[in-house]
Symmetry: C2
Subunit: 219 residues, 2 copies
């Protein structure tokens, strides 16, 4: 297809597609004439990935480029590449000062991970993200407790087992899937949790749901 058709197919303006081409995010189409390049389904898919990373995941373009490079060339150490690719996702975290001790810099995150018996590596971006999130909850008067960590940990592990089991086995597909699956399903999980709160609260309070299933109306 022509680039104008790619714009129509993806709903992305032509000027934006040309910008992606200039920035090296989108590979050039196959030149079929001096002034015409041919685009295919791989370009449609790549545009969808760029849109998901920028618009839904909120990644700056520079980081999108880094993720795409890791997708295109995952290298031999898939585990490290997955970590680096997911580490590009927001929220951005501040680098530890050079004189900081990584072992002691994230006490709240470490306590949770040690309680759950999980891998503890202070160089994982998500460790710093967890520490910041736990600090904020604590500052607002809702500190993490061992009971909450236990409940959340078991539930989140079940989600993670499903996620990892769904990752394709080829390493290039794995990186893209892992990054998108991480980023795109965070808002899904957040919305599902809010809806589960309402469902659990309605049942505990004995409220007749407006559009509940038969079973809830009977219960």
């Amino acid at each position: 297809m022509r680039i104008s058709e790619l714009a129509a197919r993806t709903g992305v303006p032509l000027a934006t597609l040309k910008f992606y081409l200039r920035e090296g995010l989108l590979p050039h189409g196959l030149a079929v004439a001096a002034t015409r390049a041919e685009y295919d389904e791989s370009h449609v898919q790549r545009v969808a990935v760029i849109r998901a990373l920028t618009e839904t995941a909120g990644l700056p373009l520079q980081r999108v480029g880094e993720v795409l490079r890791l997708i295109d060339d995952p290298g031999p150490d898939l585990f490290a590449t997955l970590g680096r690719a997911v580490g590009q996702l927001p929220p951005p975290i501040a680098e530890l000062p050079a004189d900081a001790d990584a072992e002691t810099a994230y006490p709240r995150a470490r306590a949770v991970l040690e309680q759950l018996g999980q891998v503890w590596d202070p160089h994982y971006a998500a460790v710093a993200q967890l520490e910041r999130a736990l600090e904020a909850a604590e500052a607002a008067g809702l500190p993490m407790t061992p009971e909450r960590a236990r409940s959340y940990g078991a539930a989140i592990r079940a989600i993670a087992e499903f996620d990892v089991g769904a990752i394709p086995t080829d390493s290039s597909g794995a990186v893209g899937y892992a990054v998108l699956g991480t980023a795109l399903y965070e808002p899904v999980i957040a919305a599902m949790r809010r809806l589960a709160h309402q469902d659990v609260a309605a049942r505990r309070l004995g409220i007749e749901p407006a559009h509940g299933p038969e079973t809830s109306q009977a219960g």
Copy 2:
């Protein structure tokens, strides 16, 4: 304490506290002299709530005011008030056009909720949020599947049961706790999921974790 001490205690600049006072977000202190008002722990707590809502949850000040009004005056229908308060949280959702049919406007969210046997009310803000999140995942080539909905649904329900069980029983405390607990633990859950991915992947790939617990080194 004087307002300058309140600033020191909370780490919030004096000018910001005065802004909160002017906007009606923070109650005035008790006037103990013509030019001096006395602040107490309730003010410290209120400032922490405002900071959590603005900085961590990313709420615009106008919506913070609405949440605080619901915390201060939850009214007789606690369930409706909880829904309205949590509905102020990001992401903002577009109002349905007047001629749209709410029953059919959220097909992806409805399918998930009906599969899970949960309350389905198209007027819950989180229904629209779930629909947008599911649309974005689908557009990027990772549509929700019944298998994922089942795995996620059971895990998220366990989290929600814990959350609702932890809510204080007085209605004023309940509203503040529910809003903060919803907003502040979303980034905690997202970070814990990323870390669980790494733990599950490391174990499946047989990678020795850098700082894993004894059990994982033996396994």
